[in-house]
């Protein structure tokens, strides 16, 4: 098995045409040509850190503020989960807990691990790394479920002075977390995982 890079070929990011790696632009669409995504690790890392920073206010501040008869009750994500458990709606609590706590956290850990794996190449588990990366990229967007729930509630529950729901700072932060992690996953070039294998072959 041989790779395009090993044959001194580069794939265009846009139209996927293989061109000689010495070319600077794609001969078909004119897009800049790189063998691998530029600064993939730096971008991924930077976006991960951004997401991490945003994750703090997303959990500390209220995601949703309910104004009921003049009393405003702020609720955080974890507070909402606890409340749902107390009310007995364990499935709903589980969905929210998985979507807004487990998924983003596991995504952070996996992405950090993948970045570390590229920087410190090893032989074992390369296939699992790629599979994990694929799952992460797929599931990451479902974290947006929280933001959607808040957005829908805000739009629906608007009964004048009786009850009203307003989004809190955490809703915006959480949307930022989800978006930055998605871009981080996108910026990560999974081919980097395999590159050292080729390098070792040539040696």
């Amino acid at each position: 098995m041989t790779t395009a890079a090993a044959n001194n070929l580069a794939s265009c990011h846009l139209c996927c045409k293989l061109s000689s790696a010495s070319e600077s632009h794609c001969s078909r669409c004119g897009a800049p040509l790189h063998v691998r995504k530029t600064n993939s690790l730096q971008r991924t890392l930077a976006l991960l850190i951004t997401a991490n920073v945003l994750y703090v206010p997303a959990n500390v501040f209220p995601i949703m503020i309910t104004d009921q008869l003049g009393q405003s009750v702020p609720s955080t994500i974890i507070g909402g989960v606890v409340l749902l458990i107390q009310l007995g709606s364990i499935p709903v609590a589980a969905v929210i807990f998985i979507a807004s706590v487990i998924v983003p956290l596991s995504k952070f850990l996996i992405m950090y691990y993948l970045v570390w794996a590229v920087a410190n190449p090893r032989q074992a588990g390369l296939r699992q790394h790629t599979q994990v990366y694929r799952v992460t990229e797929f599931i990451g967007k479902w974290s947006m479920i929280d933001v959607f729930v808040v957005a829908i509630l805000v739009a629906l529950v608007h009964l004048g002075g009786i009850i009203e729901i307003r989004p809190g700072i955490a809703a915006l932060s959480f949307a930022g977390v989800v978006i930055t992690t998605m871009i981080a996953a996108e910026s990560f070039d999974s081919r980097l995982l395999w590159d050292h294998l080729e390098a070792e072959k040539h040696d």
């Binding site: 530029t38 600064n39 730096q42 930077a46 206010p57 008869l69 003049g70 009393q71 009750v73 700072i169």
Partner: protein, 537 residues
Amino acid sequence: MTETSAEVRSGRRLTPIWILPLVALAMGAWAVVYTLANEGPEVQVRFASAAGLTAGKTKVKFRELEVGVVKELRLSEDQQAVIGVLEMDRGIRDLLREDTRFWVVRARVSGANVSGLETLLSGAYIEFAPGDGKRGATKYVALDAPPQTPVGAPGLRLTLLSSRTHSVSAGDPVLYHGYTVGCVESLEFNLDDRNIRYQVFIDEPYHELVDSSVRFWDAGGITLKAGAEGFEFSTTSLETLLIGGVAFDRPPGFDRGLPAADGDQFRLYSSQAKSEQDPYRHGKYYVVEFTQSLRGLQSGAPVEYRGIQLGYVVKIMLEEMMAADIHGSGAPIPVMIYLEPGRLQAGDTPEMVETLHQSVAEGIGLGLRASLSTGNLLTGALYVNLEYYENLPSEEMGEYNGFPVIPATAGGFARIGQQVSELLDKVNGLALDETVDNANASLAQLSGTLEALRNILEQNDTQALTAELRNLLQELQALTAGMGPDSALYQSLDASLRELNETLSNLSALTGTLSAKPNAVVMPANIPDDPVPEAPR
């Protein structure tokens, strides 16, 4: 053709993407700083119970504006109360003073009013009244009930002291001539001085009525006076009759005093009459040490100077005497008296108290002494009399337990007793025995004389004399009986006397004519003259 080779450098350079986490961090940092900067003060308020309070929900309001929230509710360390941690808004910091008062607003129905009905829907909330004490206090004790006066109402807050409870309770009106000018905010029993303290609030325009010369009294209930004019029945108002109240006024004859300030203390009298009996506020305690019996001296007994009451006896200081451990040494008994310059119409001010003190101190040098005098001979009640005495050893004002001492001298009955004993001493000195001997001799002579007299009377001649005397009297009686009205002698005598009377009356007519006309004896009766006409006038 020379072979050109490109210099290949490692692509390790920073991409602009790193701005993103930096921006996120900056925003996070800003949020933290902003939150910290806007974080209001946190105070701990001790509540009797957490009824109606919910951590994170119950609001703190000031003038119905939300200014904070209950952050946490927990049991106090002594488990006797609930500590509420209140997170206040930043702008409220200035209002949190040492004497800021917190209370829970919930629906209340009491005798006088109904309040806080709106909390039935919205739930209880915490309200507070800002104080003007020192800043920076963080621990408060919540009031049991909302204060009677609205938050920040202008006016005057006074303390009334009373040694016994009256029919006054929190919320009762304060009346001036029957008009409500304030209210009683709270009352508490002070264990230290065993007094009941009433917090009273006088509303703004009326606080000018309060000055140092006004007196407060319990206006509740009915006044029933029985006098020479019959019964007099009076009550201030139906409201005070039912729920009580406090009234104040200046006692008659008192001038306007100094304006009252916040926190001034006044005595609460049990009735208006009492307030007029003893209306003085300023005075000074003195001690008099008596060596004579204090039987009949009671606390409240007057202290007089030449008959003018200057004050009263507070107590016999037995406790202090015992504490001084001088029992058994025959030490004088200290008596505490209280002198009020206001009784001299000199002005009821602290300055006058000082002036009185000066004159007492000077007077002691000039012979001013206190003595016990009997006020009532029947009951033996004593009063303390201040008087100048001459020929006394010079003394100065001493001190007993921190009180100035007015030296005492024997007075009143004790003084009379002294004089009587002096008199008896003189009587003892008289030569009574000789006098008695002389008198005895005289009496012996007198009895001899009497004996001689009896001998004379017992002689026979004397007896015969009396028999003759009796005969004489019998003859005299017979003689007078012969001259009774029925006897012939009497009747002839009577007829002669009547004739004599007639003769005399004729004779008197004759003498009348003769005196008017002496010639009537020889001349006929006078003839009238001829009439003479008179000229008209």
